[in-house]
């Protein structure tokens, strides 16, 4: 962890009178990063905690009465809707799905697709970006052109066609298709970073001492790139979740159990906003808000790790 020690040193230089430099000076422990990761972890563990509170079948169509208002809703709101009969704290949607169960099942499913899709995309980006940036020449030119073209294709348009034909995707299939459009931007970003890292003194030193290219790439450059890679990963997760919820909101990638995007799609189809059923469109929107803001926090927090100059500014 070359980068961590060097960063700790540089931040210690900024505050020479700080008595003990322990946890407080570790750039990886900044509040934005930690709270972002915390929120994401909290949302993700619902995968295992949810079964303790709700039965999975509660999230299926027709599990309860349709249009049931949340437990705390003002009885006057219930005009035209079904009064809460208990057991459904967030009410039910227009098709009788229990909203709480839908959310507890939908959130981890959406996160899984985001993490897996972005994981594959960034892995491809690391391989291509490192190869292009490190070797240069015609290899760089070819990878660069393919990346440019990949970025230029409006991903959503192609995804829509693919998802309309291939209907039984599942989490893994959906992630693979998402990864198809998740690799070009990480490739471009990481290539640029490798190009600047390549010129640093420690790489020249490693080369002089006879290290092989793969060894320099993976032993010297890769550890120094970790904060960049992690930040790119967080941004890609955000992009994949954006794309997948967009697809689902369009009514694609249907699944038996609800996801955040499919709940929004159902709500739009059921005119939830027009009918004033805020408990139908509200929970998935709030859940997505939590996910995207947490990812933004992680990205900004990692930026602070990567750029010591950003630190100290609030």
């Amino acid at each position: 962890m070359v980068v961590m020690t060097s960063l700790v040193e540089s931040s210690a230089e900024q505050q020479p009178d700080a008595a003990g430099r322990g946890r407080r000076d570790n750039p990886w422990l900044n509040p934005m990063l930690l709270s972002g990761l915390g929120v994401l972890a909290l949302l993700f563990v619902t995968k295992w905690i949810a079964p303790l509170f709700v039965a999975k079948k509660e999230a299926l169509i027709g599990a309860a009465a349709n249009n049931m208002v949340p437990a705390w809703a003002d009885p006057s709101v219930t005009h035209g809707f079904v009064a809460n009969t208990g057991g459904h704290p967030l009410g039910t949607d227009g098709q009788g799905r229990d909203m709480l169960a839908s959310m507890l099942i939908g959130i981890p499913q959406t996160l899984e697709v985001g993490l897996l899709g972005a994981g594959i995309g960034v892995a491809v980006g690391i391989v291509l970006g490192f190869t292009a940036g490190f070797f240069g020449g015609w290899i760089d030119a070819v990878i660069g052109t393919v990346t440019d073209v990949g970025i230029a294709i409006p991903g959503l348009a192609v995804l829509v066609v693919i998802a309309s034909y291939v209907t039984d995707l599942g989490v893994v299939g959906l992630s693979l298709i998402m990864a198809l459009f998740a690799w070009p931007i990480p490739t471009r970003v990481l290539r640029g970073q490798v190009l600047s890292m390549r010129e640093r003194g420690y790489v020249a030193l490693a080369r002089l001492s006879g290290a092989s290219s793969p060894s320099i790439m993976f032993r010297e450059i890769l550890p120094n790139m970790l904060p960049y890679i992690a930040a790119t990963f967080a941004q890609t997760v955000s992009g994949v979740i954006l794309a997948v919820t967009g697809l689902e909101a369009l009514g694609l990638a249907p699944s038996r159990y609800p996801t955040l995007g499919s709940t929004i799609s159902d709500a739009l189809q059921g005119s939830a906003i027009f009918r004033g059923m805020w408990w139908w469109w509200g929970p998935p929107v709030i859940a997505l808000l939590g996910i995207f803001l947490a990812l933004l926090g992680v990205t900004l927090g990692l930026d602070r790790v990567a750029n010591p100059r950003l630190r100290g500014k609030a």
Binding site: T145, D148, V149, G150, I151, A152, I153, P154, G155, L156, A157, V158, V160, V161, I162, S164, Y165, V166, I177, L180, S238, L242, A243, T245, G246, A249, L250, G251, L252, I264, L268, I273, F274, G276, W278, W281, V285, L288, L289, F292, L293, L295, L296
Partner: protein, 334 residues
């Protein structure tokens, strides 16, 4: 003063062709990797339609899709049809061709995409400029974090919240569509004002999301620019601060912003498509949504094709304009 060298134009044109071709190829290959061929799915759907499906339509598609030909043959036919802009008939509204349906929706989407991109460019750049200039008031600098927050959210989500607030709660703006039913389309005031009031919310949801990136880019460029020697020289000459800001700061910092317009068009198109379904705005996105609900594969493919083509061609045209804006663009490289 010819700034467009042959090599530059040819290179960009090659990239345009490559982009469209790759998009088309992905749309052809990936669905066919599964168990059932999409061509079979279309025919099955047509045949299952019974009374609804016209036998002549089934025949036309069996021939058009070349079901009994090799995959290569199908692929070349598919590309050939795309080149000729022959997208066939809509499956759910048979006598209508895909082209006629798409062309009806196209102006609405292009209107939204272009105005959203331009408005967010101007507003974002302005905010970024205020953020990046050391002499701007401290209170104004608080805007940036807010725009950043919005830019991390999906536009359709913001659209849902805006719709809830402005249409459902406060009854200020209309719920859906592009204009009210009681106005006559044409160059008359009621129609224009109806179109504008219907466009406000969809536009706002896209602009709020897009603005952040422009603000960040402008701020970054301006911070670099203000430390340049010529800015210091201008200040040393005793020029007024706002004059230095406008003529030395903004003028140089804005160029890279303009270069990103091409990419922004692509992301705006993607954002607008989903936003349209929230507002039932009669553009390509809503058309796509209706086609997905009706399993109208030919319209789905047609919309996707036009989106890819539209975004790629606009990026290409912008690429041809840049050299005139920024003499520093190196025509020999890339």
């Amino acid at each position: 003063m010819s700034r467009l060298t042959r090599r530059y134009v040819l290179g960009r044109a090659a990239r345009l062709v490559l982009t469209v071709w790759l998009g088309l190829t992905l749309m052809f290959i990936i669905p066919r990797l599964g168990r059932s061929s999409p061509a079979d799915a279309i025919i099955a759907k047509l045949a299952a339609g019974g009374g609804a499906a016209d036998p002549s339509l089934v025949n036309a598609y069996e021939k058009r899709l070349g079901l009994h030909e090799s995959l290569w043959h199908q692929y070349l036919d598919y590309l050939w049809n795309a080149i000729r802009f022959d997208q066939g008939y809509s499956l759910s509204e048979f006598p209508a061709t895909v082209n006629s349906i798409v062309l009806e929706a196209l102006p609405w989407t292009f209107g939204l995409v272009i105005s959203a991109t331009l408005i967010s460019f101007v507003m974002g750049t302005l905010i970024g400029a205020i953020m990046g200039w050391p002499k701007s008031p401290r209170a104004l600098r608080r805007i940036l974090p807010i725009t950043l927050l919005f830019s991390s959210l999906p536009a359709f989500m913001i659209g849902i919240v805006l719709l809830f607030l402005f249409a459902q709660q406060w009854h200020l703006l209309p719920f859906s569509g592009a204009y009210s039913a009681d106005v006559v389309p044409g160059p008359n005031l009621p129609f224009v004002s109806s179109v504008v009031s219907h466009a406000i919310l969809p536009l706002l949801s896209v602009v709020l999301v897009q603005m952040g990136a422009w603000a960040m880019g402008m701020r970054g460029m301006l911070i670099t620019t203000t430390s340049e020697d010529y800015v210091m020289l201008a200040e040393a000459k005793g020029l007024r601060p706002h004059s230095v800001f406008l003529h030395y700061g903004i003028r140089t910092a804005i160029l890279p912003q303009v270069t990103s317009l091409g990419l922004a068009l692509g992301t705006a198109a993607g954002g607008v498509v989903v936003v349209e379904t929230v507002f039932a705005y009669p553009g390509l996105g809503n058309l796509l949504y209706q086609a997905i609900l009706a399993n109208d594969y030919t319209v789905i493919e047609g919309v996707a094709f036009f989106l890819i083509l539209g975004v790629s061609v606009s990026t290409f045209l912008l690429d041809l304009v840049y050299p005139f804006l920024d003499p520093r663009i190196d025509m020999r490289g890339r």
